[in-house]
């Protein structure tokens, strides 16, 4: 009781705060610590289970919070250690990571510890496919399924692991050195990329993208722009962040001065620190199903914050054991039907309480209340219908014909017919003239248990029946039935409502809520956050879709496309029963009133719903002819599909002028133009990640629905296959190349051997040829010398005639020529056979003087004048070769002297360049017509002048010698002026 009253006080204190104020605001928290029964005042993690209980991990036990009291678990209740650090709720239990020793799984009050992790310290635990995924300090990544664990193969991570975060297919791991972006492929973690982040700490995913803290800054992949705003704000306020957590669209940053919430879309900060009562260090932030935010602190226990856009619930007790079954807001009174009777509660617009409560004398269970006429109420009970007259203050039985029927519902239509729906006998239509007409299965109803009747905008009637079909009675008196074939998958109806646009809203027991408009049913179920599929009422109040479910009061936010669930069990086990049909003003605040087993629930309305809500959703998702349930992030097997998306939209204001546009991200490049078509078809859609988006636009608002899904990649397009295939192809290419290289090497070796063999043979033949040539030359030399000697002897005989003498002279001359030729030929052979002759430093001067001495007679006979200048005195050369070159050049200069002048020969040596020494022999002789003889002047037996004796071997021999020693010859000559032979001698 104390808690409830304190809640009420807190609510009204909260209401004083401006809902859009995002600056420094005075807030008041719920606060529970060890003195209130929390296991310890150090709270490290908070989770909410499927029943609505809040669980808190503390340093000295695990606490369950029901909203009123704590139930604690310790080592004695099965915990492996009292120090609980991390929690993760699953649909069937709660995972607990201990401070030092692994994981426990709590299910139905029993803790089973995961033995395989006993020796591991778990550093992080996150939700993963309805269960959990965790990371140990020793870099072991594991999946949990109840009390069993499955380890995921992980490559060595750099640095000690700190955090793991997931958003479906991606896993981010933060270590003290890196942040790894990973995917899970067949039980093995593959690192896609990694970001160096030494000194980084705390990691969270904001809209699927990781952000983390480094020093006094928030950083993230690709540095999204909103981080700049946070960093600038932290710099300006000298904030030292210690922890960051993304909760839906908000970022919560704990720091030395408390905790700050940043809403990137609103670009607004809100700070909660000492001034708001939160004076302890925040360890964790958690948003529960009602969007209340809870902070676990060090030393201060847990703080609960009713945030500005979250409406709060207040309770007014009507008395022990009474459950509210019907509500009517009429004439500034709230008329409350309960299981015990009728209560009239007067309220004031100016105060925040009901000012008067009157227990009326009707003392039986009430099922429905309706205003009938100016001063009367009709009251449905288990014994028929009563009429309550406000003026007389008495109730009397209405319509004796209806006595003893269990009346579920009353409905007064536009024609003032009263429809009385019963548990067993169908519906009675009481016409204004008193005529009663009974509709049962006998004349067309689907079932005789009718829970609700409403009238559509077209005048037809809709009947909520139990377990058969939704029944429509048209204005023409025909019955229509709607069921599974129409997309209405759940047939146990509990409530109906027709909004301004004529849209019919249907509450079901087990299927959530449906809307029906323009012949299409739209489903609003647990996939959109509805806490339970068992719904007992549906209404549009203050611009919002409201429904009582078995576990909460659900409010659908058309902007976010999600339900917010109020009154989960941890706020005190509440069973909702009835909803008021119109808001009431209470304490200058518009409230919605709901009935429950605890009394009345007051829910303040909110300004954010003033915009006309509009909503769109898929009605069918047909994959190659087969209808599928469009579950977010579903993955289809690899194939090429024909996809059909059917969608529909709803607007509270008007659903007739809605326009749709859609796109299939991953396939379409842009949105299609808006139109009224509500079907999209695609064919040949292959592997990839896709998001089907459909946007509905109304008069002044729009809503976008997103359905992410993927089609699996065929194995031959997977990266593994491409890697293996590339490697295989590479191996083949390598082997072919290798084979060719080996073959070429073998061929090369064969050819080299062949060349060596042929060279050897050629050398041998060449040698033999030279030997033969030399032998021939040598053998010829003696006979020629003999001929010459005999010729000389013949000259000694004096009895020769003149003719004989002339013949003898000719013989002598010929033998001289032959002898000379043979000698030169022998010299040439000597030079050629002397290719590897010894090289030594040879003096030009010495060589020159030696030549002069050998031809001194000729020089004297021809009056030859020499000029010499040996700038380079010597060269490393074979002496015989050098002598032969110079000798032949000098003798040629004398031999081919000009008849008009004495021969003048200049001999010079100089450095040509780094490689050559040039030896020039210049004469003033006959010269050579280079145009005529330039090409063949170095050929053997080539002669350019016939008037003197010569063999045509000299120049050839010079060229052979020079080339053999790596040099070359330049000739500059002009007929009748002389020649210059430049011999380029290769330096050794």
């Amino acid at each position: 009781m104390t808690l409830i009253l304190s809640r009420i006080r807190l609510v009204f204190l909260f209401l004083l705060a401006s809902p859009l104020n995002y600056g420094q605001t005075q807030f008041h928290f719920w606060n529970y610590d060890a003195n209130d029964g929390l296991a310890q005042s150090f709270v490290y993690d908070i989770e909410q289970d499927s029943k609505g209980y809040l669980w808190m991990a503390t340093g000295n036990g695990l606490s369950r919070f029901s909203g009123q009291e704590f139930l604690n678990y310790y080592e004695g209740q099965g915990l492996k250690e009292n120090f609980c650090r991390l929690l993760q709720a699953s649909p069937n239990g709660l995972y607990i990571a201990y401070y030092q020793s692994g994981i426990g799984f709590l299910q139905n009050g029993v803790v089973k510890n995961v033995n395989a992790l006993d020796d591991e310290r778990v550093v992080d635990l996150q939700k993963w496919k309805e269960q959990a995924i965790g990371l140990t300090a020793s870099s072991k990544l594991f999946q949990l399924d109840h009390d069993s664990v499955h380890f995921i193969a992980t490559t060595k991570l750099l640095g000690t692991p700190v955090h793991v975060s997931t958003n479906g297919d991606r896993i981010w791991i933060q270590t003290q050195a890196e942040i790894y972006n990973c995917v899970l492929q067949k039980d093995e973690l593959k690192i896609v990329d990694q970001t160096p982040a030494p000194e980084a700490f705390s990691l969270t995913l904001y809209k699927g993208t990781p952000i983390w803290l480094v020093g006094n800054q928030v950083q993230g992949v690709n540095s999204p722009a909103y981080l700049n705003a946070i960093n600038q704000w932290m710099l300006a306020h000298q904030i030292e962040p210690e922890y960051i957590e993304a909760l839906q669209n908000e970022l919560w940053i704990a720091h030395q001065d408390g905790i700050t919430c940043y809403h990137p879309d609103r670009k607004a900060f809100r700070h909660y620190g000492k001034e708001s009562g939160l004076n302890k260090h925040v360890n964790c932030v958690f948003k529960d199903g009602e969007k209340s935010v809870w902070f676990g602190t060090s030393g201060g226990g847990v703080f609960g914050l009713p945030t500005d856009h979250i409406e709060q619930i207040a309770l007014q007790n009507l008395g022990e054991g009474q459950t509210v079954t019907a509500l009517l807001n009429w004439k500034k009174n709230l008329w409350v039907g309960t299981t015990e009777g009728l209560v009239k509660m007067a309220y004031s617009d100016s105060t925040n309480t009901f000012k008067e409560t009157t227990i009326l004398e009707l003392s039986e269970g009430i099922n429905d209340i309706q205003n009938w006429g100016n001063d009367q109420l009709l009251i449905a009970t288990n014994r028929g219908v009563y009429v309550w007259n406000e003026l007389s203050g008495f109730s009397t039985i209405w319509k004796e014909e209806l006595v003893a029927y269990y009346v579920n519902d009353l409905f007064i239509d536009q024609q003032q017919n009263v429809w009385v729906s019963t548990l067993l006998n169908g519906t009675f239509q009481v016409q204004p003239n008193g005529t009663i007409k009974n509709y049962t299965t006998a004349n067309g109803l689907a079932h005789n248990n009718i829970l609700k009747v409403v009238q559509g905008s077209d005048g037809s009637y809709w009947f909520a029946t139990q377990g058969t079909a939704l029944t429509q009675l048209t204005a023409q008196g025909e019955f229509n039935y709607f069921g599974v074939k129409d997309g209405l998958l759940h047939l146990d109806f509990t409530d109906l409502f027709v909004d301004e646009t004529g849209c019919l809203w249907i509450a079901t027991r087990g299927g959530g809520i449906y809307s029906y408009h323009n012949g299409v049913f739209l489903h609003f179920g647990t996939r959109l956050g509805l806490s339970s599929a068992f719904t007992y009422s549906v209404n549009l109040m203050a611009g919002r879709l409201m429904s009582n479910t078995s576990t909460s009061l659900a409010s659908f936010d058309f902007t976010e496309g999600r339900f917010t669930n109020f009154g989960n069990n941890y706020l005190g086990v509440i069973e909702f029963s009835s909803a008021c049909t119109a808001p009431i003003m209470l304490g200058n605040k518009e409230m919605l009133v709901f009935g429950s087993n605890k009394g009345l629930i007051l829910l303040p309305t909110s300004e954010q719903y003033e915009q006309p809500p509009i909503y769109t959703s898929l009605t069918h998702f047909i994959v190659s002819g087969e209808e599928k349930d469009p579950v977010d992030h579903m993955q289809l097997k690899y194939d090429r599909y024909t996809l059909q998306f059917n969608f529909e939209g709803i607007s509270i204001k008007s659903s007739n002028d809605l326009q749709f546009q859609y796109t299939l991200e991953g396939y379409d490049e842009q949105w299609l133009e808006p139109n009224v078509i509500t079907t999209a078809r695609y064919s040949g859609i292959g592997s990839g990640n896709y998001t089907f988006k459909v946007r509905v636009k109304g008069q002044d608002s729009e809503h976008t629905y997103r359905f992410p899904f993927s089609i699996a990649t065929p194995f031959w397009k997977t990266s593994q296959f491409l890697i293996i295939g590339s490697a295989f192809l590479g191996l083949i290419v390598f082997l072919v190349i290798r084979y060719r290289v080996v073959a070429l090497r073998r061929q090369k070796i064969y050819l080299e051997k062949e060349v060596l063999k042929r060279t050897s043979e050629l050398r041998y033949k060449n040698k033999r040829l030279r030997q033969i040539s030399y032998a021939i030359s040598h053998d010829l030399k003696n006979p020629v010398v003999n001929i010459k000697g005999l010729s000389d002897m013949l000259h000694g005989f004096s009895d020769k005639s003149g003719e004989e003498r002339e013949i003898l002279n000719m013989l002598d001359e010929s033998s001289d020529q032959l002898q000379n030729l043979i000698f030169q030929f022998i010299d040439l052979l000597k030079i050629k056979s002397n290719e590897e002759a010894i090289v030594e430093e040879v003096s030009f001067e010495v060589t020159f003087q030696d030549i002069l001495k050998s031809i001194s007679v000729i020089i004297e006979e021809n009056n030859v004048v020499f000029n010499k200048l040996f700038e380079v005195p010597s060269v490393r050369y074979n002496p015989t070769n050098l002598r032969s070159i110079l000798y032949n050049l000098i003798s040629n200069s004398i031999k081919y002297k000009s008849p008009d002048r004495d021969p003048r020969i200049e001999i010079r040596t100089r450095e040509a360049n780094e490689q050559y020494i040039v030896m020039e022999v210049q004469d003033n002789g006959l010269g050579i017509d280079l145009d005529k003889h330039g090409q063949e002047m170095f050929g053997i037996f080539t002669r350019m002048h016939d008037h003197v004796e010569g063999s045509g071997v000299g120049l050839h021999m010079i060229q052979e010698v020079v080339h053999m020693n790596g040099g070359y010859i330049n000739v500059d000559s002009e007929p009748d002026k002389g020649s210059t032979f430049s011999i380029y001698l290769k330096k050794d």
Binding site: G59, N60, F83
Partner: protein
């Protein structure tokens, strides 16, 4: 049975020793054991040089490990305050220009104290054992200069329970990272974040002490190694004292025992026999300075098993006093 009797005697002895030790700790804790260096130690600052600094500056290994002990009766949050945690400003030792960083890391949980490497005199092996709880790296950050910075809060249960001391141990490692300057700082174990308020019974100790002596000649620093009942002899080592005075040991049985003193950048070692009366008590190692200078040095002690001996921020069991054989106490000087 004799064996059972022997066991019960040993158990009784152990229990007595534990009670004595706990009593010593809690009594000692009242003597301002929350600040390191404590007032009674008479040291200037703790000191940790960055990795690039030579040993001649007075720090042999660029790491200083301290343990804070929280009695198990204390169940609220606490903080470890660090005075002048940055490496810059007037207090710290500049080597050229300030270019250094110091990382302070707090560890708790299993192994943070019990791991042998954690208590070694050099940073070796798994000396960062346990669970990393909080840490922060400081560079030349003027906003922290000459100010206290609070690391925390910590839950006492996050520490490692040490039966011997009846409390939870937390390890703080000051690690000189890149750079070559000296970080001079102090610690304070506090129950508050904004103020330094002592925790009843809390204390601090280290196994290798790196500190700066007070500047003035004649100043006396006191170190308080605790001698447990298994110690027979101690080996004392000091580093980079520059032979700037004397190192003397006082106890109930030692009245100024002269210890070996080190030169600039060198170690010096000496052995100290322990008598029965000195066990379960603290020694008072007095370092008497002979010159006006900034002198940073390192001291550690090991017992005959080469096990490091803890230096407590305040002497366990109160002030150390020589027990004169003839019971004549030194005469007090009269004020007249």
């Amino acid at each position: 049975m004799p064996w059972e009797r022997g066991c019960s005697i040993r158990r009784a002895q152990m229990e007595r020793q534990l009670i004595v030790l706990l009593a010593l700790i809690f009594l000692g804790g009242k003597v301002n054991a929350q600040e390191v260096p404590s007032k009674v130690e008479g040291l200037s600052h703790l000191v940790t040089f960055s990795k690039g600094a030579s040993g001649v500056w007075g720090d042999d290994d660029h790491v200083q490990t301290f343990f804070f002990l929280i009695p198990k009766t204390y169940q609220k949050e606490f903080y470890i305050h660090i005075y002048d945690p940055d490496v810059g400003g007037a207090i710290d030792q500049k080597n050229g220009s300030f270019n250094s960083k110091t990382k302070f890391s707090v560890y708790g949980g299993n192994g943070s104290y019990s791991e042998k490497d954690a208590r070694a005199i050099t940073p070796r092996g798994n000396y960062k054992s346990g669970t990393f709880l909080r840490g922060k790296t400081f560079g030349n950050d003027p906003q922290y200069d000459n100010k206290w910075y609070a690391l925390g809060p910590f839950n006492p249960l996050e520490g490692e329970y040490v039966e011997q001391y009846g409390g939870y141990a937390f390890k703080i490692i000051a690690e000189g990272l890149n750079g070559d300057d000296g970080n001079l700082y102090r610690y304070f174990l506090s129950k508050e974040k904004e103020e330094r308020k002592e925790i009843e019974g809390g204390t601090a100790f280290t196994f290798e002490y790196s500190f700066r002596l007070k500047y003035t000649a004649g100043s006396v620093a006191h170190l308080y190694p605790f001698i447990d009942d298994k110690v027979v002899s101690l080996q004392q080592s000091n580093f980079d004292f520059d032979q700037d005075g004397e190192i003397l040991v006082y106890s109930v049985k030692k009245n100024g025992h002269v210890m070996a003193k080190s030169k600039d950048g060198n170690w010096s070692t000496g052995t100290l026999p322990i008598k029965e009366e000195e066990k379960s008590k603290s020694l008072d190692v007095r370092i008497v300075k002979s010159s006006n200078s900034d002198n940073d040095m390192v001291v550690y002690m090991v017992n005959q098993y080469n096990e490091p001996v803890p230096f407590f921020a305040s002497p366990l069991g109160g002030a150390v006093q020589y027990s004169y054989r003839n019971k004549i106490l030194p005469q007090k000087k009269s004020g007249k």
